[in-house]
């Protein structure tokens, strides 16, 4: 037991008292849980977690420290971090430092020594909640009120906040120049998506979320990629519009996570907020085309409504076997594929890497047709 006092308060009145770890201060966000057993550094640095206080359900976090390679963006992106026990030491030949120092260095407020399972059960039962994590104010009531007054995830256009400021070309470390020019919309894109696209033979230009279709098309893409990202897809109207334009042109489009939801909306579908979301590395997804089950990495609070498939031009390709939610679809005629989960994994199983190759095949086919 070490560290100063810290308190986590949820909007519905639940208050936990624990110990501060990482930066002292205060953080506000939607409290969610992730069930992955390892890969906390990837989780921390995943921009999809912007605006969220992430609880890891596995009790020992920080065991192998942090390193410069296992990052999904330049810095931790979570609003706050909740663990049962934070390791103060790092045991790994790749470690460059300890987790608590890393969080402190990047200004992330964390809390440890709380009953994270009780918190998880609460979120599971009552749904994701807004919360405040503080190492300064211990008055539960005041914090609860503050949580209640904080910004809601529904309607929050967070992609705009985490996207890159200007376009840039992804320099692949694998050496070979890409065969296909891909414009990747950055709604909070994970680095590993870029690595996977690069490895699959794409020459990727990353563009800000607000890039118009005309601007993107001026780059002469063979295909467009719509990245993962935080928050609600509905307010990301600019990207929904752009996506419609790409589809109208028959360009190959591949969406992941928020990108998938945006595509769903662009196709005329609806999205809705899940009770407590899917966050972890063990979700079974069935590929309806092959019958194979993929164990997938997931991180999303919203989902595409299956009413989309009432329209014959949209085909559901993947389904979540836990709750039956939509995990992927394609267009019957157009080169459009989309998955809700994270085929780039990181953290999580590599069962779904094939989707990057599928995107490339679509671009190949499209190129030969053009």
């Amino acid at each position: 037991m070490s560290g100063a006092r810290a308190v986590l308060a949820l909007e519905d009145g639940l208050v936990f008292e624990g110990r501060s770890f990482g930066r002292e201060g205060e953080a506000t966000g939607e409290v969610v849980f992730n069930t992955a057993l390892c890969g906390y550094q990837e989780v921390l640095t995943d921009p999809s977690y912007a605006g969220q206080i992430v609880t890891m359900t596995y009790p020992h976090i920080g065991n192998y420290g942090v390193n410069p390679e296992d990052v999904e963006s330049a810095r931790p992106q979570v609003a706050g971090f909740v663990v049962r026990e934070a390791s103060t030491m790092a045991s790994s030949w790749r470690a460059s430092g300890e987790l608590h120092r890393y969080l402190d260095d990047h200004g992330i407020v964390g809390i440890s020594e709380i009953d994270t399972r009780a918190l998880t059960r609460h979120l599971r039962t009552h749904g994701a909640k807004r919360g405040v994590l503080s190492t300064r104010v211990f008055d539960g009531e005041a914090l609860v009120a503050r949580a209640g007054a904080s910004r809601s995830m529904v309607g929050a256009d967070l992609a705009r906040e985490v996207t890159c400021p200007v376009p840039y070309r992804f320099e692949t470390t694998e050496g070979r120049p890409g065969r296909f020019r891909v414009v990747a919309y950055d709604f909070g894109m994970k680095q590993n998506i870029l690595r996977m696209l690069g490895r699959a033979g794409c020459d990727v230009t990353v563009v800000p979320a607000t890039t118009t279709a005309a601007e993107a098309l001026s780059l002469g893409p063979d295909g467009v990629f719509l990245s993962n990202g935080p928050g609600d897809p509905e307010p990301v109207t600019y990207a929904i519009e752009a996506s419609k334009a790409f589809m109208d042109r028959g360009l190959p489009v591949f969406g992941i996570c928020l990108g998938h939801q945006i595509l769903g909306l662009a196709c005329g579908g609806k999205t809705f907020k899940l009770k407590f979301g899917h966050r972890g590395a063990n979700h079974p997804v069935k590929n309806l085309q092959t019958g194979q089950v993929e164990v997938t990495s997931q991180n999303h609070g919203f989902a595409v409504d299956p009413s989309l498939f009432a329209r014959p031009e949209f085909v559901q390709t993947h389904v979540n076997l836990n709750d039956g939610t939509v995990e992927g679809f394609r267009h019957r005629d157009l080169p459009v594929i989309s998955v809700q989960y994270h085929p780039e994994a990181s953290p999580g199983p590599h069962d779904s890497h094939y989707l990057f190759a599928e995107f490339v095949r679509m671009m190949e086919a499209h190129g030969s047709r053009a």
Partner: protein, 1090 residues
């Protein structure tokens, strides 16, 4: 895809007797498999030689064969049953090897029977290290450098490549038997020769040492559609070099990043595909160099395993059950997760707790065995503990081991031996690591010496810091605490009354037991408990749910922790709690778990909610399916009492789990807990020598004369009064430990001085030893009004051999009817006098027409399952119904039970794992398991039991006879019979002269020190098929030990008592004269009363 409709019937192969490396985890997996296959409507037959298993209860399979697991018997069973398929993947390596052998012999093809779960090729690639290495090469995975040698010269060439230290593993042996690590060429030659001998194909693998590397295991599953999931990752606390069965292991992996973990997962997926496990579970082991991260594949087992049982318990995912469903064609996504009921089995369980498995060894039983841990497994049991942190789980596990440690602490360590103990792992090592941390040794140094990952050391340091910091409170329990000076013992805490509440709370959160805190504060466990409860510090119970609370759990599978929210949700139903038997050990194994399960089943049938408390992950009792509620907790007063207070059961059943719950009877009783069945006072009476003797004299039942001595002089006086030989033992240990038979004053002196150090605090007990008496075990049931005898088992070995080790036969075969009447009468008297409600076991000796009572235990015995199988009456269930208030009469049981065939129990010993240990039997129990032989003929039943232990009885050839003078007359008729059956007889000089003089031709061979070739040379070169050697008695042991050891190592049948010799000769004759008869339990018990 739904089930494969072409499979309508299946034979499941069990794993046979409990041996080191193959314990009750296979009863757990086999039972699961049979249950689910039956539920799917298949006709299931089962063969397993182990009667103490739940799986062999007649209500599980349709056809149950308790028969030897030999290819010959299996072939006969297959011919009789003609199943569509054989499932060999739930019966350990034994079942896999048998299936491969049946396939090789063409039996499966001839009968048109499929192997499901694993193909012959997959088994071969998994087991044959050469094929495995080639397979790994094909899929681009790294393995340690290695090569195979068929003889010593080849082995030497390979070691030139791998360098020293090198690991030597014989091919195709169980649990790594006969392997080792060689640090120099002398050791290399020794281990390589032994390995070549032990390998059935005379081959050893010599391998680059990855000693000290991090060791991991993944439990994985695959279905026919190539869906693949990892059920659990396991990280070994003890690094490579210590068999995983002897390692402390932790789930999930603690020190792998996602990148490394996924590399391991990807490799596993490739491996299970390449090896060709189409459906089912596999265990895959990896080593990782802690300096560079280089990952190498160590091995894979294409079947359920000890680790998969652990993984099932650790995650709540029933691997064996799912494997059985996959084997008959289902896909993972077609199977529901029992715990969530809404999600499919095609996912990867996640944990929100830490699981620690700790091995339990039995070196105290094998004093000559080296306790050093290596690549050959030596532990006999294990406990699993669940906590929210590693620290909590570790401390719970250590107290669950029942080795006298209240947690991560022991006070009997010698500071001067720390270095040695860290460098050379043995069962004490973990406590020496603690001591080194107490004394401020650096983690780097401890890591260098032990290979234990610094993360684990840091966790343990936190426990040490709390202990030390408690003495001098410091806000962060810092490392620079002045209290921690080298040479200083762990500091004492302030008295309990002054102990700060936050410190007490923190200690509980770290897994300190009340007893441990009592030790630190100089108080008692009960005082700590009172203080803790006064402050509202009680544990909460969390659920094991496969999904880290993401979905609702419908299964009350619980563990305690000190946190905020309790999920136990006790019901207000009528309920009983059953205490399990903890880790397997010699003398307390699967038999007791069997009884606990029966207790649970019977109480359920009686309308009770059943609550199981146990900490042994291998068992059926800790399957969440067995009882209504499962508390995976150590069996200590504190942990049990906490559950009692939460659940409020009507009563607690303590008579099924052996000594472990029995020890808790009085403390629980004093705490106001109702003990069901026989009263704690009567249990105490039976255990207390003085009270028991008084009862016997009152009842007029004779017992061997005895006395108590607190010094050598007293001991001599007592022995003089009683007359030699005497049985001596310390009064403070149970289960036959340190027990000896001494024949004269010199030996008595030696024993008292060296073995037990008698003192007023530790008196020794001296009993008259009834040499050459017949001994019997009686299992009976009492309801307070009536006693019904379940069975009288006669020991085949004469008195002096522990009843757990002796072969036994039911019904008796050499006891005169009047004595049987006396035995029955005494048992009734005793049962009524002790007011037995439930099970009782009594042991008697018959000598010179006097029946003596040796001991009475008003509880389940090791033979309860055996008698239940033989009679068809489930004694433990009957006992449970008695406890639930139904009398024997109400259950229709008013007459003693009878059997209609001959049932022989034979014991199985772990000697091959302990080179150098004499195989002689004595008053101290050494066997790990048992088998049953059934026939209408005694000879065949005995032959079956013997063969079921893994030895073949030769019906012709050469025997070696060497008996002490005392036994010479006795052995003569047997030698004559062997001669008449055409055996050639070799004998040592004295025996040969005696036999020849009495008209039995015998050739003289040298003893070991008389010249060459001697008897050991003959054994080694397979020129002797049976050894009859009876050293029991007054004679010195000269070179008999060498003869027996070499027989053991070479798998030559070795008979060490005269009575067993007689039985063996009858067996040989029976095998020569008649075919073995096969019968299912269902056929035997078609008309059983219950």
């Amino acid at each position: 895809m739904p089930r494969d409709s072409s499979i309508r019937s299946v034979l499941v192969i069990g794993s046979g007797p409990i041996v080191i490396g193959q314990a009750c985890e296979f009863d757990y997996s086999g039972t699961q498999a049979i249950k689910v296959l039956k539920k799917e409507g298949l006709r299931v037959s089962l063969v397993n030689s182990n009667p103490a298993t739940i799986m062999t209860d007649p209500e599980y399979a349709d056809r149950t064969y308790v028969e030897p697991l030999t290819p010959e018997v299996l072939e006969k069973i297959l011919e009789r049953e003609r199943p569509d398929a054989v499932l060999p993947t739930v019966g350990g390596q034994t079942a896999l090897n048998l299936a491969v052998e049946l396939s090789r012999r063409g039996v499966l093809d001839r009968l048109g029977i499929r192997l499901i779960g694993a193909s012959r090729r997959a088994v071969e690639v998994g087991e044959d290290r050469r094929l495995f290495k080639e397979a790994m090469g094909r899929i681009g995975l790294d393995v340690p450098r290695s090569g195979f040698g068929k003889d010593l010269a080849e082995a030497r060439k390979i070691v030139d490549l791998t360098g020293l230290p090198a690991v030597i593993r014989p091919s195709f042996t169980l649990g790594g038997s006969g392997g080792g690590i060689a640090y120099n060429m002398d050791e290399f030659e020794e281990i390589a020769s032994r390995g070549l001998d032990l390998s059935p194909i005379h081959e050893v693998l010599v391998e680059e040492s990855v000693l000290g590397w991090k060791e991991y295991e993944l439990e994985v599953m695959r279905d026919r559609a190539d869906n693949f999931v990892v059920i659990c990752s396991i990280e070994n606390f003890d690094p490579m070099g210590i068999h995983t069965g002897d390692s402390v292991t932790v789930a999930p992996a603690q020190t792998l990043t996602d990148r490394e973990y996924q590399a391991m997962r990807n490799a596993s997926r490739k491996i299970i595909r390449e090896v060709g496990v189409e459906t089912g579970g596999s265990n895959i082991q990896f080593a990782v160099d802690p300096r560079t991260g280089r990952m190498v594949v160590i091995e894979m087992n294409p079947r359920v395993s000890r680790s998969s049982a652990l993984a099932s318990k650790a995650t709540g995912f029933p691997i064996a059950k799912i494997a059985a469903l996959l084997a008959i064609g289902y896909h993972l996504d077609e199977i529901k997760n029992d715990i969530t009921r809404v999600t499919p089995a095609s996912f990867e369980p996640v944990l929100d707790y830490v699981v620690v498995k700790l091995p339990r060894w039995a070196f105290e039983k094998f004093r000559d065995a080296s306790p050093v841990l290596g690549t050959q497994m030596k532990s006999v049991g294990e406990v699993m503990a669940i906590g929210r942190t590693f620290k909590e789980a570790l401390q719970k596990g250590l107290r669950g081991l029942e080795i006298g440690a209240a947690g991560f602490t022991r006070t009997d360590l010698e500071d001067g031996r720390i270095r040695e103990k860290l460098l050379t792992p043995d069962p004490d090592r973990i406590f020496y690591v603690k001591r080194a941390l107490d004394l401020g040794w650096s983690h780097a140094e401890i890591h260098r010496m032990t290979g234990i990952d610094p993360w684990f050391l840091d966790q343990m340091q936190q426990i040490v810091d709390l202990e030390l910091g408690g003495a001098a409170p410091h806000p962060r329990w810092g490392r620079d605490d002045p209290a921690r000076q080298p040479g200083r013992p762990a500091a004492a805490w302030p008295p309990l009354a002054e102990l700060p509440t936050p410190l007490l709370r923190e200690a509980k959160r770290m897994g300190f037991s009340d007893a441990g805190i009592a030790g630190l504060t100089g108080s008692t466990e009960l005082e700590v408990r009172a203080r803790r409860k006064a402050e509202g510090m009680v544990p909460v119970y969390k659920r094991v749910d496969t999904c880290a609370a993401e979905f609702v759990s419908h299964t009350p599978y619980l563990y305690s922790t000190y946190e905020q929210e309790c999920e136990a949700e006790p019901t207000d139903r009528k309920k009983v709690m059953i205490l399990g038997s903890g880790p397997n050990r010699i003398g307390q194994g699967i038999e007791f778990d069997y009884c606990c399960c029966h207790g649970s089943f019977a109480f359920k049938e009686e309308g009770y909610e059943t609550i199981m408390v146990n900490c042994n992950p291998e068992t059926v009792s800790t399957d969440y399916d067995t009882s209504d509620r499962l508390y995976f907790e150590p069996l200590t007063f504190e942990d049990v009492m906490n559950v009692v207070e939460l659940e409020g059961p009507e009563g607690v059943v303590i008579q099924f789990g052996g000594q472990t719950p029995l020890k808790l009877a009085l403390p629980l009783h004093r705490a106001g807990v109702r003990i069901l069945g026989t009263s704690p006072d009567m249990i105490d009476l039976a255990e207390d020598r003085k009270r028991f003797s008084a009862l016997l004299s009152e009842l007029g039942i004779p017992q061997p004369e005895s006395g108590t001595a607190t010094s050598l002089e007293e001991a001599k006086a007592v022995a003089g009064r009683i007359g030699y030989p005497v049985l001596v033992r310390p009064s403070y240990v149970l289960g036959g430990r340190a027990m000896a038979i001494v024949y004269d004053a010199d030996h008595l002196e030696e024993y008292v001085r060296e073995a037990v150090k008698a003192s007023p605090e530790h008196p020794i007990l001296v009993d008259r030893f009834l040499e050459d008496a017949y001994e019997v075990d009686v299992d009976a049931l009492g309801d307070g009004e009536r006693v019904v005898i379940g069975g009288i088992l006669q020991h085949i070995e004469e008195a002096g051999i522990h009843s757990g080790d002796s072969a036994m036969v039911l019904p008796t075969y050499k006891i005169a009817p009047p004595h049987l009447q006396t035995i029955r009468a005494y048992t009734r008297k005793l049962g009524l006098a002790l007011q037995v409600r439930g099970l009782m076991n009594a042991q008697y000796a018959v000598k010179n027409d006097v029946v003596y009572v040796i001991e009475v235990n008003p509880r389940a015995s090791r033979t309860t399952p055996f008698v239940s199988k033989a009679t068809g009456v489930p004694l433990a269930k009957v006992a449970s119904r008695i406890m639930a208030g139904r009398s024997l009469a109400q259950q229709g049981l008013t007459r003693d039970l009878e059997v209609h065939r001959t049932f022989v129990k034979e014991s199985v010993f772990p000697f091959v794992k302990f080179p150098g240990v004499d195989i002689l039997l004595g008053p101290e129990m050494k066997s790990t398991g048992e088998v049953m032989g059934i026939s209408e003929d005694f000879g065949i039943a005995f032959a079956k039991a013997t063969e079921a232990t893994g030895v073949t009885i030769p019906t012709s050839g050469t025997v070696f006879v060497s008996v002490n003078d005392y036994d010479k007359g006795g052995v003569l008729p047997h030698a004559r019979e062997l001669h008449e059956m055409g055996f050639r007889i070799l004998a040592t000089r004295g025996t040969a002269e005696f036999l020849n003089a009495h008209g039995v031709p015998a050739e003289m061979v040298y003893k070991v020190n008389e010249g060459r070739p001697n008897v050991v040379d003959f054994i080694r070169s397979a020129k002797i098929q049976i050894v009859f050697n009876t050293p029991l008695g007054r004679e010195s042991f000269y070179d008999d030990g060498a003869i027996r050891k070499s027989a053991t190592v070479h798998g030559v049948l070795c008979v060490t008592t005269l009575t067993a010799t007689a039985a063996m000769v009858r067996a040989i004759r029976a095998l020569r004269e008649r075919a073995i008869d096969l019968v299912t339990l269902q056929e035997i018990h078609a008309s059983a009363p219950v």
